[in-house]
Amino acid sequence: MPCSLDELLEGQKAVIIEVIGADSLSARLLEMGLLPGETIEMIGSAPMGDPTEYMVFNYRISLRKPEAKRVLIERT
């Protein structure tokens, strides 16, 4: 069942379905490699629960909750 990236728990992996929206944030996320079909893994959250570190496209990226909400995923 598709859900958004911020629902992914520590250590879980998922496949990106799409990045929602057509503004500059979506463009930035896509440029950074959050492409449909890529696998993304949740590494851990910062001390206060936000932002969160993910592994995608062979590198680590930090996203805040509102940014992670933009990414639609399917858990694997």
Binding site: L35, I43, G44, R60, S62
Partner: protein, 763 residues
């Protein structure tokens, strides 16, 4: 080969090449390796984007030297994309398209790619290639690919992309000469193709058909074709890539920077028309670009790059990261690290700072032995030496801070620190990247403000710059110590573990930071409103910092500080000196000083005379300062400072300390007839302050007055160098003026409230 003059094609006297790449690819290392450490740093006209250029050091093994010309290297800001979303990106496009005033159009581009993350890095390359300039790839961090389980064939990559590829490990200085020779070869071929009649593309220029834009949807390409013609008919010179950017990028970003204000409305209408036409054909604007470029990357790297499936065993970097970003351990480590940095800045910097002050004293005495008392000596010793010395004394702090920042940035920890502090800082309207600059401002706001360069979001950066001077810097310390030791009773509780003095000192240290919270909130709310910033940030792998990069950074900052703030503080100190010196007849003071100096050659026998002369001189000096322009200004402002519980003398001292707050200790000393050169622990000054009375005989200084002075100093923008740094970093006079006005207002109100409350408590 034809000489350029014969073919009528007069070449520019230099070649210009641009260096561009993603952040964290080792671009600074590569720039240093190419140019040595003699980079020139400035800002591009009208934007706060750093403009760094250097000169390519041509290796001795080069048998060609690009026809004897100088090769200038322009270092562009680290960026993931050329979409004009941030000022950095917009400036990069302008420089590459040759439209940035004061920067020659590059003859070639060096794109530095991180071999380990090649695919994502190729995104930027795919955009750079669109500009049609000869391009060379530096495949950096080549030494790390084996450990990371990546296999790349540079030859196949070069063939597939149509541009030369050189493998480098810039931090270890590997492959640098090969890259330099490749640059020279490209420039040479460019030179010969300029002079030949053949229409063949120069080396390192892929054909248009092989670009990613060739696979953009047909309706979009047709629309761009039409726009290219339209722009030509309007005589607006834009590269096709820039026109595509206008069409694709959010108009709220920086894409319209390239169009002049008068043309903007027409262009905007035309672009909107084109967008509507595309929408009618069912083409949603921004997202096809990323899709097309990543498809292009996939196709170009097929059979060129191979990755072993990530083994279950995690890398050392991953293991370190697990601890350093751990919810609690990471936070503890971070706080301990901040404590260490903070301590080093205040403690370690103390030794060189004392050295500088001692040298300043020796130099002053030496000058005094050469120049007779008079305006010239006073200008040199009390004006220039004291003023400029007051700035130079901060150099060790700046050097140490940038040493730490350099190490933390280069090893990859800085992004983790920003990651951990982001939630907290975001609640105050900033981002995690604001934390370190604010923390360093507790030592000195100047390096703190300079460190805000790591914050990409302009609004976050502005808020951070504007509240940084509120942090309690080390120059406020002497003022607090003097006031507290003179007026706060030495009460202690819990067997001496908690002292009232210590508590007041701590309260003063924290006051600025506490006030900064609502200030930041108001600034974000009313001065820099807008969408919340994003925090899409790469957390790059840890690596050993490269000492060359770290020291180059420290050197760059130190140099910039001395040159820019130094010249401005020089002027300010001379002006303040003049205001405190003129008008006034200094003959008596000068002749007394001369007499004193003769007597001092035999201090033992003349000790009583020396003492009486010294106090005579101090009286005369205090008369002179109260008659000076500065003194008159002090009398004029007495009605204004009365509500704060101050008299005119305090008014003068505070007024004179606007260029540099710690000056107040010396000025109070002069005014209270003790002579300058007293320091904060001087019991004599504290006694004098306690003895000062109003004309009706009541004491001037009370606990309320002392606290009102301290609160004023805690909140006021009394530092010309900080204001000059804000001016330089924001490229506008508006923000230093704004900081000055808001902080002075805040200081006045704060001091007034403090005085009211405390004087009501103790009649």
């Amino acid at each position: 080969m034809d000489s350029p003059l014969q073919s009528g094609n007069i070449p520019p006297s230099t070649w210009t090449i641009a260096l561009i790449g993603n952040p964290n690819t080792g671009k600074s290392s590569l720039f240093n390796a190419l140019c040595g450490s003699n980079a020139r740093v400035g800002n591009y006209a009208g934007v706060t984007v750093e403009h760094k250029t250097g000169r390519l050091q041509i290796p001795a093994t080069a048998n060609r030297s690009a026809l004897g010309r100088i090769v200038e290297v322009v270092d562009l800001p680290g960026t993931y994309s050329l979409a004009a979303r941030s000022a950095d990106e917009a400036v990069s496009v302008e420089v590459l398209a040759g439209e940035m005033p004061g920067v020659a159009k590059p003859n070639a581009i060096v794109v530095i790619l991180d071999s380990v993350h090649l695919e994502r890095n190729l995104y930027l390359l795919s955009q750079v290639l669109e500009l049609g300039l000869p391009t060379i790839i530096a495949l950096n961090m080549w030494d790390r690919i084996v450990a990371e389980g990546v296999r790349i064939s540079p030859d196949k990559l070069s063939e597939s992309l149509g541009v030369p590829v050189v493998c480098t490990s810039a931090a270890k200085r590997v492959g640098i000469d090969a890259l330099k020779l490749q640059i020279l070869e490209v420039l040479d071929s460019l030179h010969s193709s300029n002079n030949s009649t053949s229409k063949a593309l120069p080396l390192a220029c892929p054909s248009t058909e092989s670009l990613a834009s060739a696979s953009f949807p047909e309706p979009f390409r047709t629309q761009v074709d039409q726009l290219v013609d339209w722009f030509a008919s309007q005589k607006i010179e834009l590269h096709r890539f820039q026109i595509e950017r206008l069409l694709i990028d959010d108009p709220k970003g920086h894409s319209f920077r390239v169009v002049s204000k008068s043309q903007a409305p027409v262009v905007e209408a035309k672009i909107n028309e084109a967008r509507e036409a595309l929408k009618a054909q069912g083409l949603g604007i921004p997202l096809f670009e990323t899709r097309a470029r990543y498809a292009w990357i996939k196709q170009k790297t097929l059979g060129v790059v191979e990755r072993e499936p990530k083994s279950l065993q995690t890398s050392t970097s991953d293991k370190i990261d697990r601890w350093l970003t751990h919810r609690w351990i990471g936070l503890l480590f971070f706080l301990a690290l901040m404590f260490l940095i903070f301590q080093s800045i205040t403690l370690v910097a103390n030794w060189p700072m004392e050295g500088i002050e001692a040298a300043q004293g020796i130099l002053g005495t030496w000058i005094e032995s050469w120049i007779a008392p008079g305006p010239l000596r006073s200008l040199v010793v009390e004006g220039i030496l004291a003023g400029v010395g007051g700035v130079v004394v901060f150099l060790p702090q700046i050097a140490i801070l940038f040493l730490f920042i350099g190490i933390l940035e280069d090893c990859g920890y800085m992004s983790r620190a920003a990651f951990m502090m982001d939630k907290f800082m975001a609640s105050l309207g900033m981002s995690g990247k604001s934390f370190l600059p604010l923390m360093s401002s507790f030592a000195c706001a100047i390096p703190g403000i300079m460190a805000t360069r790591t914050i990409e979001n302009r609004k976050d950066r502005m808020v951070t710059i504007l509240i940084a001077p509120l942090m309690s810097c080390s120059a406020r310390w002497p003022v607090y110590v003097l006031m507290v030791s003179a007026f706060v009773p030495a009460t202690t509780w819990l067997n001496g573990w908690i002292s009232l003095r210590g508590t007041v000192l701590f309260a003063m240290m924290s006051l600025g930071a506490v006030v900064a919270i609502p200030v930041a909130w108001i600034l974000k709310r009313f001065v820099f409103p807008g969408e919340p910033s994003t925090f899409v940030m790469e957390l790059s792998s840890y690596k050993w910092p490269s000492w060359r990069v770290v020291f180059a950074r420290v050197w760059e900052r130190v140099q910039a500080f001395v040159l820019r703030a130094g010249t401005l503080i020089f002027v300010t100190s001379v002006l303040v000196w003049a205001a405190a010196y003129f008008p006034g007849n200094h003959q008596t003071a000068d002749s007394l000083t001369e007499k004193l100096e003769t007597l001092q050659q035999d201090p033992e026998t003349n000790s009583t005379e020396i003492d009486s002369l010294t106090s005579q001189i101090n009286l005369e000096k205090s008369r002179l300062i109260s008659e000076s322009y500065l003194g008159r200004a002090g009398q004029a402002i007495e009605p204004i400072v009365r509500p704060l519980g101050w008299d005119g003398k305090i008014g003068i001292a505070v007024l004179a300390s606007f260029p540099a707050r710690e000056v107040i200790v010396a000025t109070l000393g002069t005014i209270y007839a003790l002579g300058s050169g007293v320091d904060e622990s001087n019991e004599g000054l504290a006694d004098q302050l306690r003895a000062a009375t109003w004309s009706d005989g009541t004491q001037v200084f009370s606990l309320a007055t002392a606290c009102s002075i301290m609160v004023f100093f805690a909140l006021c923008a009394q530092c010309a160098s900080t204001l000059m740094t804000i001016r330089r970093e924001t490229n506008s006079w508006r923000w230093p003026v704004f900081s000055f006005v808001y902080m002075t207002t805040l200081a006045y109100i704060g001091a007034w409230i403090t005085f009211r409350i405390l004087s009501a408590g103790s009649p």
